[in-house]
Amino acid sequence: MIQTDIIIIGAGPVGLFTVFEAGLLKLRCHLIDSLPQPGGQCSEIYPKKPIYDIPAQPFILAGDLTEQLMEQIKPFSPGFTLGERAEFIEKDDEDQFIVTTNRGTKHRAPIIAIAAGLGCFEPRKPPVEGLLDFEDKGVEYIIKDPEFYRGKKVVISGGGDSALDWTVFLADVASEVTLVHRRSSFRGHPDSVQKVMDLAEAGKITLLTNAEVVGVSGDNLLCSVEVKHKSDGLSHIEVDHWVPLFGLSPKLGPLGEWNLKISKNAIEVDTFDYSTNIPGVYAVGDINTYPGKLKLILCGFHEATLMVQSAYKRIYPNKNLVLKYTTVTGPPGM
């Protein structure tokens, strides 16, 4: 069990800055994020895009912003549970929250700060009829263990790096690999594209471009997929596995079932301290909503700053908090 003062759900810019502001009050933090790296959207969607509205930064790349925040919070040595989704929340008899992830990691703290942005990133699922019936029965959105596909017939969909890389890798593992892509050019790394082209030429894989998987069928287990070709209609491919790799998109996910007051996919908060309807649970950044809300990193930083003051008073109801400037206290640290 990981014990801390504040469990922060979401390691995007606002979650990271919460660590800093909490650290100034000597509160320890532990972050949970479904992505394998910190930074949230900034690192997952647009690391190379410049941001122009961070105060005193005429422009900063989203990826650099993440790095700088990581540097800024280093003195407070936050803990991280990455690549796991916060799944369940419960309270124990000492008024502490226990947050359990989808992999069973347990975290305990008197305070939860939800800084989950647009939710947790999950694989995009193609809107193909009956798809859900075959999940884990032949349809997988993530390749965890390539050995799982040894000797199997596999269809991969997508045009990005993960589709290309797995096609190349599985060419030597699976008995048959077919890559289906909607157009004839790929957005992946040119090297990977060339490798796929070479494998197709050598007959080691089947490359179907200008095509799309539009149907799945089978009897309990997946047996075949239906492919729509831009030029000449439909065809069927016998398969053991179909792996659609269409990137990730954020979903509110389990947070929606935590009895929080939700309005239009966001958590309602009191702007006094960004508290939710559950005492001890706060929400900051893009995930919250209130009259006049603006989804800006800048506003999330402000929300986090006020929020930790309230969290402190909740943890130490008898202590008075005096605002100290960092110019006075010197380099931050625990």
């Binding site: 969607i45 995009r124 193609p126 809107p127 045009g159 799309e212 269409f246 990137g247 998109s249």
Partner: protein, 104 residues
Amino acid sequence: MIKVVVIDRYDKRHELDAPTDMNMNMMELCRSYELPVEGTCGGMAMCASCHMYVLSSHEIGERSEDEEDMLDEAFFVEDNSRLGCQIKLEDSLDGIEIKLAPVG
């Protein structure tokens, strides 16, 4: 101000008034009318959550390489598929008709 017709995923028609002097795009227009368009990345052509079809024959610039790349993450992409965030609202688009693409 121009008229834009948006057909939602239940085939319902929405006739929208769209300003052309606010540097807005089709994704933002849909969101401002609370139509179900996500626009996760905020309009950078870095996700595919504002995929839509252009039904009318209005002239819109060619898809950029970025847009083409991101459409790879969309589903049921057709010749008339576009990312809404890449369609700027201009006077020449008066009467344009679009349909929201299915979501995964």
